[in-house]
């Protein structure tokens, strides 16, 4: 893949490689260690965790007790299912509306486009707390509280603007020449969008889709206000475990691990698309 034409100095090359690997190892370690720590402490007995010295520096017994406990707790499993549904539907909805909108904003020349894009960004700057009450009011009036569409809409309120903006920046990266070539070859505007722009920016689009899913999946505030009683979402249930009286750290950590599982699955899918993106770049 990496063909060098003039051969660089061999010793320097090796030194460079070692440097890269070391830096790489340090980065990976720093980034992953807290996560690794979360996983391992979720596998501890609670008493073991509190006795100094802290966990990684002492012999421990591993147990999956806290995982079993979570899976036999109905609100938790319910939350898992509900959150997965909400995140999937939100991602689907946001990507459809967002990519159409973003493409229109980037590729058509209206004076309002620039203003619209800026308005979108400004909207996203609102702290989530500020919109919570109005959104809840609207949803109550429409009878959407405690329903799946209710939570999906509440999430879309802040995810859609952000994703539209991100998609716009991705579509802008596609060279205009390629699109014009598509049009010369007789494709319609929709044709160029689906056959030229989307395939060329598939990496970015997939990443944005996954981000959509993750943001919705991890969202706490709107989930807890809109899905108050009858529509339990995962993150509020996890937060309940954090209450001052019943805080069992391994349980919280196990819940954290659970909530990161779908994201790991998605990261693997994402990985495939990144490689595809590289390949198509290489072929071109």
């Amino acid at each position: 893949m990496n063909v060098q034409i003039p051969k660089p100095n061999k010793a320097r090359k090796i030194a460079g490689k070692i440097g890269i690997y070391t830096a790489f190892a340090i980065l990976v370690f720093t980034i992953l260690f807290p996560y690794f720590w979360m996983v391992t402490s979720s596998l501890q007995r609670e008493i073991d965790l509190y006795r100094p010295p802290p966990f990684p520096f002492k012999p421990v017994k591993f147990t999956v007790f806290h995982y079993g406990e979570l899976l036999s707790y109905p609100p938790f499993t319910e939350g898992l299912v509900n959150s997965a549904l909400v995140a999937l539907i939100t991602a689907g909805f946001v990507m459809t509306a967002g990519s159409l909108g973003a493409y229109a904003l980037v590729r058509t020349r209206f004076k309002v486009n620039r203003v619209l894009l800026q308005a979108i960004v400004i909207f996203y700057m609102l702290p989530g707390v500020a919109l919570l009450i109005p959104v809840a009011t609207v949803e109550r009036a429409l009878g959407l509280i405690d329903t799946l569409p209710g939570v999906v809409f509440a999430h879309s309120v802040f995810i859609l603007p952000l994703m539209t903006w991100m998609l716009a920046s991705i579509f802008r990266g596609v060279h205009m020449d390629l699109e014009e070539a598509g049009q010369v070859d007789g494709l319609s505007r929709f044709g160029t969008m689906f056959r030229v722009v989307l395939p060329l920016s598939i990496t970015g689009v997939m990443i944005v889709t996954v981000f959509c899913f993750i943001i919705s999946w991890n969202e706490l505030m709107y989930s807890s206000v809109i899905g108050v009683r009858d529509f339990k979402m995962l993150q509020p249930v996890i937060l309940e475990f954090m209450g001052p009286m019943k805080q069992v750290i391994p349980r919280v950590m196990a819940a954290g691990v659970f909530s990161s599982l779908p994201v790991i699955a998605l990261a693997v899918i994402l990985q495939k698309y990144i490689i595809k993106g590289i390949m198509s770049g290489a072929i071109k």
């Binding site: 034409i5 003039p6 890269i20 790489f24 980065l27 980034i31 992953l32 807290p34 996560y35 720590w37 509190y50 100094p52 010295p53 802290p54 990684p56 459809t96 967002g98 159409l100 909108g101 229109a104 904003l105 058509t108 020349r109 209206f110 004076k111 960004v121 400004i122 996203y124 700057m125 609102l126 702290p127 989530g128 707390v129 500020a130 919109l131 009450i133 109005p134 009011t137 609207v138 879309s156 309120v157 539209t164 920046s169 990266g173 990496t203 970015g204 990443i207 991890n218 505030m221 937060l239 954090m242 954290g256 909530s259 990161s260 994201v263 790991i264 990261a267 994402l270 990985q271 770049g281």
Partner: protein, 304 residues
């Protein structure tokens, strides 16, 4: 409402096309975005009266005037700037580092690429929880590691009034760096490999190649990701709530924390709305300034 005054024949098809595409977005925006926004703006000009249930009467700018005399809110502004400045810088730099490393043909990078997203995969409040255990004095990870390495002898209290916000910044940068990394990684894919080959022929070293090929091509990603993370950091709340609770005292309360306290702890809805509009104003100004500085910097840094 939106009719561009142009007479080119292409415009008509462009226009209908755009309206088709924008319809879902516009519809949705109207239903669930514009209304909440106007509601919150309206609310910020009211005064609330609790006699016989919650009622609002028009109060003009009273809430806005009150905010300027609110010591907690005024105090939270420099704290927010510290938080945003530190964690954005850290996240962008670490993210760039990860992206460059993962773009190298290294062994096992596929696995690492998938794993590296993990910190972002954890929700903001879970980030706060994990890091609160990193910083804990007696059973915390950080003190234990430093003791094991022989760097410190007795436990250090990390979350102090003076540096509480720094501890949050680090946690938040950890959470955000993978996002930055993925943006940079996507940006790196758009750099034609020929350019590197040419630079090599011209005898450019690693650093030179980075400065004159990689960096100029990443300028758009850099702009997008910096602004994105700035906004995400400025509006974040969950991490601070679970990590320090805004304390000790109010030492790590950013303005969103104060909005949260005033609105939901003290139930001052109208005042909270006014505070949020100040927050928006500050963030908008911040982003515009950043945008101008960065585009200027890029222009000086030479063309691609």
């Amino acid at each position: 409402m939106r009719k561009p005054q142009r007479s080119k024949p292409r415009v008509t098809s462009d226009q209908t096309f755009a309206i088709y595409l924008l319809l879902p977005l516009i519809f949705f925006t109207m239903a669930l975005v514009i209304y909440p926004l106007s509601y919150s703006l309206w609310l910020s000009f009211q005064e609330q009266i609790w006699i016989g249930g919650l009622r609002y009467v028009f109060g003009g700018l009273t809430q806005y005037a009150k905010a300027l005399k609110d010591p907690l809110f005024i105090n939270s502004i420099p704290i927010t700037f510290r938080f945003v400045g530190e964690s954005v810088t850290l996240a962008v730099l670490i993210g760039l580092g990860i992206a460059l490393a993962l773009n190298q043909p290294l062994q096992g990078r596929k696995v690492i690429r998938a794993l590296i997203l993990l910190p972002w995969a954890i929700s903001e409040f879970a980030t706060g929880i994990i890091w609160s255990f990193v910083y804990k004095r007696d059973v915390g990870l950080l003190n234990a590691m430093l003791k094991a390495l022989g760097i410190i002898e007795s436990d250090i209290v990390w979350i102090t009034p003076k540096f509480a916000i720094e501890t949050v910044s680090i946690a938040f940068a950890w959470h955000m760096a993978p996002l930055a990394a993925f943006f940079f990684l996507a940006g790196l894919q758009f750099i034609p490999t020929d350019l590197y080959r040419q630079a090599r022929i011209d005898g450019a070293g690693v650093v030179r190649r980075f400065l004159s090929v990689t960096l100029p091509h990443l300028k758009y990603s850099m702009l997008v990701i910096t602004i994105l993370i700035t906004v995400m950091t400025a509006r974040s709340l969950d991490t601070i709530l679970t990590l320090t609770g805004g304390g000790p005292g109010f030492a790590s309360s950013t303005f969103t924390n104060i909005v949260y306290v005033r609105t939901f702890k003290e139930l001052q809805f109208a005042y909270g709305a006014a505070l949020s509009w100040y927050v928006i104003l500050i963030v908008v100004i911040l982003v515009i300034v950043m945008f101008m500085l960065m585009t200027k910097g890029f222009a000086r840094g030479g063309r691609r």
